[in-house]
Symmetry: C2
Subunit: 401 residues, 2 copies
């Protein structure tokens, strides 16, 4: 027997807001009672095909919904990407060719199917119905919404107040996005919290156009990035890309703070809330080290976008480098005037008893400077600061002045 209450609880997990939650619950219930699927729309901008973990927060909620009856309608908004701008003002808007859009869409697919079930996903392009829309259709669409209400959208309101120009075409885009929902006849639309206004537009237009549907809306929070402060974004370089190498993915995840780790667990892990709670308790009563919990998260994320064996390899690699890299908290410090021959430096810093011993260390590949192996015994150290190291445990700091 399916426990609907537990599914409903998982449904609410990590979401920012569910508008018309009763409808979502009914759709799930109906799936279990009658086997009927329901349709969930998600829109994607085809200009930037690189997804990061921030996007995957929504993808994972969709994967959850797929497990409980949803068919995901993945909409590539290729229509507007193909429109030019005669005013020449909006230099940021690149006009994309059909080919580039299709290529980007392919890239998307590769990425999203790391999370979504391919058999319960439909990829759609809104150019399919919007290309054939006439100016008259556009005007009819525009007649369904008032200027004042459009200006209530947060970003528009701010820009209007600050006298930053808003082009009238920008008023048409939310309408077109809503019109997609009319055509697609979806039951639910999902997006980030910043998309709430546009998602509700779809609900509004489905009603106005008598589609017999009024989509529920699920907004997901924006994931905080590696820095623990800002929303994850490519431009801030605080992100983990969905296509990052396993080693990067694992190492970046381990770099986050313990506090952020719990937030990521909630939004990114497939562990149940109960399991997560147990981990938390374990950390609190000292039976589990927080590092272990973080490692488990890093393994889970890496496995999702690659596979388990690659995730394990990434962990091994990390552990190896990490232990190698461990610098003692305090080291003996030396200062030398003028350039110095590396062999002499090793001796002077007390890491070898003689020049020949120092040479042997170098030949045996046991000598590093700043944690990089050095095999050139003729090296001369110029002015600067160095950490010299023999084997795993012998360190010295050297300053050449």
């Amino acid at each position: 027997m399916v426990n609907l209450d537990e599914i409903y609880k998982e449904l609410e997990r990590g979401v920012s807001e569910i508008i018309d939650e009763e409808k979502v619950k009914d759709l799930i219930k109906n799936y279990y009672e009658k086997g009927e699927n329901f349709y969930v729309k998600i829109g994607m901008d085809p200009t930037a095909p690189d997804l990061h973990l921030g996007h995957s927060v929504t993808l994972q909620k969709m994967a959850f919904l797929q497990a409980h009856g949803a068919i995901i309608m993945f909409l590539i908004g290729d229509f507007t990407a193909q429109i030019g701008d005669p005013s020449g003002k909006s230099e940021t808007r690149k006009k994309l060719s059909k080919d580039v859009v299709l290529e980007n869409a392919k890239t998307y697919e590769e990425q999203v199917f790391k999370v979504l079930d391919r058999n319960k996903t439909k990829i759609m392009f809104n150019s399919e119905w919007t290309n054939s829309m006439s100016a008259a259709d556009m005007i009819e669409l525009a007649s369904t919404y008032s200027v004042a209400r459009m200006l209530e959208r947060d970003d528009f309101e701010k820009r209007y107040k600050n006298q930053t120009p808003i082009s009238i075409s920008e008023f048409l885009y939310p309408l077109l996005q809503g019109h997609d929902s009319v055509v697609m006849k979806c039951d639910i639309e999902m997006g980030g919290t910043d998309q709430k206004f546009n998602l509700l537009m779809g609900r509004h237009l489905q009603r106005i156009y008598n589609t017999g549907k009024e989509q529920a809306v699920i907004t997901m929070p924006l994931l905080v990035g590696l820095d623990g402060v800002n929303k994850m974004s490519k431009s801030l370089n605080n992100y983990i890309g969905v296509t990052d190498e396993p080693n990067q993915m694992y190492a970046k995840t381990l770099s986050i703070s313990d506090e952020l780790m719990w937030e990521w667990y909630k939004l990114l892990s497939t562990k149940s809330l109960k399991e997560i709670d147990e981990l938390k308790k374990g950390v609190e009563n000292g039976t589990i080290h927080p590092k272990e919990v973080k490692e488990a998260l890093a393994l889970e994320i890496t496995a999702r976008f690659h596979d388990e064996s690659l995730a394990k390899k990434a962990k091994e690699e990390f552990d190896k480098i990490h232990s190698l890299n461990k610098l003692p908290s305090s080291m003996e410090e030396f200062e030398i005037k003028d350039e110095i021959w590396v062999v002499e430096a090793i001796v002077k810093c007390g890491l070898a008893g003689s020049n020949s011993q120092a040479r042997r260390h170098i030949k045996a590949n046991a000598f590093s400077i700043d944690q990089k192996k050095i095999d050139d015994e003729n090296l001369v150290l110029k002015k600067g600061k160095y950490v010299l190291q023999i084997g795993k445990k012998n360190f010295a700091k050297l300053k050449v002045v």
Copy 2:
């Protein structure tokens, strides 16, 4: 030899504003120097095909321009008239069928060619190019103008401040009107002062779309109606319709005040400013009676929309009725209880010495009630008030209670 300065002076007569007047002057000059025509756009709403003298103010300025090189491009805005409104809010907007639009256009033509030269006029329909416009074209068009600038249009500004909803589609109409100018490549657009914003939009878009043209704009004032206070409009019933009967037209014109008469001379007469000045002087020094001046205006207006012989007939008719209709400022009053036979009433009111004399008056077609001839000597007057009249000079007021 053409006197350009005099033409320029007539050009400015009665206009509200000319934007880029130098261009207009150059176009006229160029016509006289090289025989090249120029193109003047005027837009008409096809929903209400009845024109009144207020519209003819602009038509006459166009007729003037036709005399000096203009080809008038008379644009029937049939495109928007064919668009529905899915919000169902705008109940005032009737969706017109193609047939109705064509019928209205025919009605227009009949009316405007009473003023315009048919051979120098081109009738156009904007559905011709707008029906094939795509939503993408509409969005490109909308990207050329900002929300804030659109909200500067007087009526939008007021409605926004008063929280009267403005539908987003209403922002698209001025853009479409401007786009008509892009397609039509006109040199000048004319309209009422209330159209200034929309006319300038055409100038703006012609520049944005690199048409090589930037239309000049001529706005005409709104004509004050018969009441001498409000702008002439059908709904205020202070108008003279272009299709009014000659008698109505003549009589309505004679009913205006002397003050308004001079304004109408400026805006409606084809008399030169010099001739009008001479009339004014004549009235001032008492050599001309103002009524004569008004009669000349009424004759001119009536002749324009009908012809001179009909205008003259209208004057005769008016003079006849007017003298006939002159009621004395005081009349003897009678009151009678219960219904009364008309012959008896004539006698009781002292308009005849006997029933037989009263009957003779009726038979001789010399008897009227409320200024309408009565030939029925069996008539019974029921309860009410009546003005009885024998011949031109004998009146009595009768109240049957």
